[in-house]
C-alpha cells in the first residue's frame, strides 16, 4: 500500500474522494508519524482524536453521498498562534500556558468546515517573535534537515518553525503559518517547502494571537504550489469580526493555476543584491530567472530604492505594535498570574510579565515602549511609518514596469541552532528580503529552488501586486515545474 504520509493535500483529498483509502487511514498514518517524531519537537500538543473525529465525519459524509469540502480527509498541523476551542493555545509562551480558548479562530474554523482535521498545535517562536524557533518556552524545534556530514541540529526557521519542520518531515501534509515579517516564507525556504503570505486582509486575524496587527497575516505551508492554492482558498475570506478583513470574493486559485507566463514581466530588484549574500543564493536567483524566462516571461531590472530601510523600519513598527498588543497579558483575565504575598496590583502586573515572557519578547516590548514614549515618538515611530509609505511606494512604482518580482527568500540557508541566538541583530537580518513585502502588505510566496553544497534547501520568493495571489502562485508553479525539487531529509528522528 502507498505510504500515505508521502502524499500532499491534493492526492490525499482526491484519494479519499475516489475511495482509494479512507480519511481515517490517512489520519491514523499521520498520527503515527507525529508520535514517532517527538525528537523534532515540532508540536506543543498533539490532538490525534481531533484528526480521527474529523476523518470519521468525512468518511461518513462520503458514504452518505454528501459533497466533500476542498480539504476533506486532510489532517493538518495548526500553528499554536490560532485559538482552538478546547485545545490549549500558548503562542509558545509561559504566560499563556494552560490557556484553553472557549472559541475557535475564524481561519481554523474555516479549515475544519472544509473537511480538515487537526494533528496538533505546532511549536513556534514565542509570540511569533524570532527567525529560528529558538525563543519558544517549549524548547527549540529541530529542522529535519542536516548539513551533509554533520549531526548538528539545524534551525527550521521562524517563527512558523514547527509548521515548516512538520511539513518537511512528512509528519503533516500541510500546516498553517502566520507571517508578520517573513514568518511563513523564511521557514518554508529553510526546509524545502512552499508557503504563501496572501495580501494583508485576505485571511481573518480573529482568534489569532496578535503580534503586530498592521502586519500579521495567516497563510498555508505545504509541499506544493497547488496544495498552497487549495489550502489558501479554504483559509481566506471576508470576516466581519476583523476590522481589516478584505471584503472581496476569494477567487478559485487552484482552478486558475497556470504555469505559462507568456506576456508576463518579472522584475529583478537590484537592491536585493546585497553584500554578504551567499554565492549559492545568488546562483539560485540566476536559475530562477532562467526558469521564468523558459516559462515565457520577460525579465527586467527594477529598483526598490528604500529596501535598505525596510528592516529598521520594521523593527520600530512591529515592536511598537507588539508592546501595545501584549499589554493585555496582565495576570487578570487569562493566563499566568504571579502574585507574591502582600503584593499590590502594579506589582502583580510586573511580576506576572517578568515570569511569563521570554527574553526576545521582553526585548521587543521594551523597544516598542521606548519608541512610543513621549519625546521619541516622532523621531522613531512616525519616521518609521513614513519610511513604510516610501517602501510601499517603491513597489507601486515597480509594478508599473513589471507584474511580479523575483528575489531570494533569505540571504543564507538554514544555520545550526545556537549559531545566531546571542546576537539579536544578526538574527533580524534573516528577514531582510522578506520584510519589504510585509510592510507593503503584498502577497508573497517562497518556493524551493535547489540545495546548496551542504545539501540544505534554498527558496525563491515571488512578490505580487495587491490581491494578485494568482499571479504569485502561477509564477511559483512555473518555478516548481522546472526546479524539480524532490529532495527529502533522511529520517533520523524515528
Amino acid at each position: 500500500m502507498t505510504d500515505l504520509t508521502q502524499l500532499g493535500i491534493k492526492p490525499l483529498r482526491d484519494g479519499v474522494a475516489a475511495g482509494e483509502f479512507t480519511a481515517r487511514e490517512v489520519a491514523e498514518a499521520f498520527n503515527a508519524a507525529v508520535a514517532d517524531a517527538s525528537a523534532l519537537n515540532a508540536f506543543i500538543v498533539t490532538t490525534p482524536d481531533h484528526a480521527l473525529d474529523a476523518a470519521s465525519k468525512v468518511d461518513a459524509d462520503r458514504a452518505a453521498g454528501k459533497a466533500l469540502g476542498p480539504m476533506a480527509g486532510v489532517p493538518i498541523g495548526m500553528k499554536d498562534l490560532f485559538c482552538t476551542q478546547g485545545v490549549q493555545t500558548t503562542a509558545a509562551s509561559h504566560i499563556l500556558e494552560g490557556f484553553v480558548p472557549r472559541y475557535e479562530s475564524t481561519v481554523s474554523q474555516k479549515l475544519w468546515d472544509a473537511g480538515a482535521g487537526m494533528l496538533g498545535k505546532l511549536n513556534l517562536d514565542q509570540f511569533a517573535m524570532g527567525s529560528s524557533n529558538e525563543t519558544s518556552h517549549f524548547g527549540n524545534v529541530s529542522s529535519p534537515w542536516r548539513r551533509t556530514g554533520t549531526n548538528a541540529p539545524m534551525s527550521p526557521g521562524g517563527s512558523s518553525g514547527g509548521s515548516s519542520a512538520a511539513v518537511a518531515a512528512r509528519i503533516a501534509p500541510a500546516a498553517t503559518g502566520t507571517d508578520t515579517g517573513g514568518s511563513i516564507r523564511q521557514p518554508a525556504a529553510f526546509t524545502g517547502i512552499c508557503g504563501i503570505k496572501p495580501t494583508y486582509g485576505r485571511c481573518s486575524r480573529w482568534g489569532v494571537v496578535a503580534f503586530a496587527s498592521s502586519l500579521d497575516q495567516a497563510g498555508p505551508m505545504a509541499r506544493s504550489v497547488e496544495d498552497c492554492a487549495i489550502m489558501l482558498g479554504a483559509m481566506a475570506g471576508f470576516d466581519p469580526k476583523d476590522a481589516t478583513s478584505l471584503k472581496m470574493d476569494v477567487p478559485d486559485w487552484a482552478a486558475g493555476l497556470d504555469g505559462n507566463l507568456a506576456g508576463k514581466t518579472i522584475g529583478i530588484p537590484r537592491e536585493y543584491r546585497m553584500e554578504g549574500t551567499d554565492a549559492a543564493i545568488l546562483d539560485s536567483w540566476e536559475r530562477g530567472k532562467q526558469w521564468l524566462r523558459d516559462a515565457g516571461a520577460t525579465i527586467v531590472d527594477i529598483s526598490l530604492p528604500h529596501t535598505k530601510y525596510a528592516l529598521p523600519a520594521y523593527y520600530i513598527i512591529a515592536p511598537a505594535e507588539a508592546s501595545s498588543n501584549l499589554a493585555r497579558y496582565d495576570g487578570v483575565r487569562y493566563g499566568l498570574r504571579d502574585l507574591p504575598d502582600g503584593a499590590g496590583l502594579q506589582d502583580m502586573y510586573a511580576e506576572t510579565r517578568e515570569a511569563g515572557f521570554g527574553d526576545e519578547v521582553k526585548r521587543r516590548i521594551l523597544i516598542g515602549t521606548y519608541v512610543l514614549s513621549a519625546g521619541f515618538y516622532d523621531a522613531y515611530y512616525t519616521q518609521a511609518q513614513k519610511v513604510r509609505a516610501l517602501v510601499a511606494r517603491d513597489f507601486e512604482q515597480a509594478f508599473a514596469q513589471c507584474d511580479l518580482i523575483l528575489a531570494p527568500t533569505t540571504p543564507t540557508a538554514s544555520f545550526p541552532l545556537g549559531e545566531n541566538s546571542e546576537d539579536p541583530l544578526a538574527m533580524y537580518l534573516n528577514d531582510v528580503f522578506a520584510v519589504p513585502a510585509s510592510l507593503a502588505g503584498l502577497p508573497a510566496m517562497s518556493v524551493p529552488a535547489m540545495q546548496n553544497e551542504g545539501g540544505l534547501p534554498l527558496g525563491l520568493q515571488l512578490v505580487g501586486r495587491p490581491f494578485d495571489e494568482q499571479g504569485v502562485l502561477n509564477a511559483g508553479l512555473a518555478i516548481e515545474q522546472r526546479a524539480g525539487f524532490s529532495a527529502q531529509p533522511d529520517k533520523w528522528w524515528c
Binding site: R102, A350, K362, Y370
Partner: protein, 100 residues
C-alpha cells in the same frame, strides 16, 4: 550608546516588566545596539510623506445596531469570559485590593 541602565529601568517600569539588576545590565547594550541600528532611518528624506497606518485602503465598517448581532462576539458570555481567569470570584475578575 543610546540607552543606559537607568533608561532601561524606566522603560521596563512603563512596560510593567520587573527586571533584576543583572537583566537590566544585559538588556541595556542589546537595546542600544538595536536602537543605534534603527537610527539610520534618520537619513531618509521623508518631507511631505504621510505616515502609513494601513497598507490596504479600507474604511471602518459599522455593524448593524442590534444586540448580539454576532453571537460569538455579543454579550451574555460571562462564563466563557471568566473560564480562563486566574482568579474569578463572584462572576468577576478578582484582583488584589487597590483601595485602602
Amino acid at each position: 550608546m543610546s540607552v543606559d541602565k537607568a533608561t532601561v529601568t524606566k522603560i521596563a517600569s512603563l512596560a510593567r516588566i520587573r527586571m533584576s539588576d543583572g537583566e537590566l545590565e544585559r538588556m541595556a547594550p542589546e537595546l542600544s545596539q538595536i536602537l543605534d541600528w534603527v537610527e539610520q532611518l534618520g537619513e531618509v528624506d521623508t518631507a511631505g510623506v504621510e505616515p502609513m497606518t494601513a497598507v490596504i485602503p479600507n474604511s471602518l465598517r459599522l455593524r448593524a445596531d442590534v444586540v448580539d448581532a454576532d453571537p460569538l462576539t455579543g454579550g451574555g458570555r460571562r462564563e466563557d469570559i471568566l473560564a480562563n481567569a486566574p482568579a474569578a470570584e463572584h462572576g468577576f475578575f478578582g484582583v488584589p485590593k487597590v483601595i485602602e
